[in-house]
Symmetry: D2
Subunit: 139 residues, 4 copies
């Protein structure tokens, strides 16, 4: 699909709830882990940023639950990073079930960086990895 990063994972039973499916909150764990793996791969170092008093923060998450992941399901998390506004970036993340390729979940995670005075900006370390597909209209 042209993702910049793909991560393969498997549902663990403790992630499922009384209804026998992965709890809604756990999808955010999956995609946070995928974002960190992606950033690590392209050399964006949280620790180094933090030392320079730069914090990456999520300001908004839009999550679409398409089909429920279940015990034993293997799936991929595909990630694209792009600019969202002057001082914001966004991760577009899709979860597909490997067995049949079904789209299970889609997320748009909007973030920014705060400098040492708490003012939002786009760090160049991140900007150089922005995907060039056009962004969706900003909310």
């Amino acid at each position: 699909m042209g993702y910049q990063h793909e991560l393969q994972l498997k549902v663990r039973d403790y992630e499922c709830d009384i209804q026998g499916v992965v709890n809604n909150s756990v999808y955010q764990n999956y995609i946070e882990h995928a974002r960190h793996e992606f950033l690590h791969q392209v050399g964006v170092d949280f620790a180094a940023l933090a030392l320079r008093k730069i914090n990456l923060v999520v300001v908004r998450a839009e999550l679409d639950y398409k089909r429920p992941l279940q015990s034993g399901d293997e799936f991929t998390v595909g990630t694209i990073l792009r600019q969202s506004s002057r001082v914001r970036f966004e991760f577009m993340q899709d979860i597909h079930r490997i067995a049949d390729g079904a789209l299970m979940f889609q997320a748009r995670i909007i973030g920014t960086s705060l400098n040492e005075r708490g003012r939002p900006f786009l760090p160049p370390e991140l900007a150089e990895h922005f995907h060039t597909i056009p962004s969706s209209p900003q909310v």
Copy 2:
């Protein structure tokens, strides 16, 4: 604020992550718990619904992170339930820090019910508890 339900909670240290603040996914735990407490209070019984093969499911979550909750913070989750479309309902949920009343987090959780054939509908048990404030424009 005219919430239909308010729940008071306190941050637990294991809910905080490396950055020293509540992890983004944990807010979904907080508001899910608040929704279940609200539904339980108005007599909507998941188990009874399930026996009639009715499942309540989340189809979309819009989450706005305003300020980070931290270790020891006490907060309220305020909840309003209203109709969102012909076959969908939505929970509007706000988290305020008790110490200073600051708005920390806002969520719009859109759900539906699936009958035994997997077709979406609005169960009357839920509809009778819809708040009468007008819904925001549907996405």
Copy 3:
């Protein structure tokens, strides 16, 4: 029961797993939160200890699962702190279901403090709160 600290909690649905009961790992969340609340109440300040390069760490946990907590259960966590060996302390923690007083879970959490060179010791801030009941034989 002569606990030094008691905390009242309620099971949240997301803490339950496929089997419909609280997942085994979640009991450690409950009792960790109870220990932190206890220490906070007696004035032991993790942050202040950490500034002096003192870390409290768990070295062993013995957990007995008696009866499973379920959705909606309200329960208490009772805590006693005592000396366990020359350089170790232990928390004895019991979970009782409020509805019928049944003992659901018992834990013995053995910890120590590490000074800035990584050497274990008993910080006086903690020792002054040791319960005087005799310790069980040390493993």
Copy 4:
């Protein structure tokens, strides 16, 4: 080491807590997942057992925290299953850090099966996979 099953995993950042290390409760997630993968591999089917009203339950966990896992660490969970008493089995589980082979964590998880009348027994499906090394003295 002669484990019957080995699983390779990697720490995810959301599993780390304020202290910057994997939270104590998360180790139980890791080893539960390893046990389920092991049982699945040898053909023990929870769902099929449950249909016959047989439940596998943990009655006691002994957990030794040797060294803390940290963000980014890759590790293995090695598992051995053996008989523990007439009606109990036990999993011996070790976590080693891959980078240097260091032993990070050891667990002894004692379980039993409950039949439809709640009486403990050893299901033959499990017994045929018991390792033949002698059990440690029973507590």
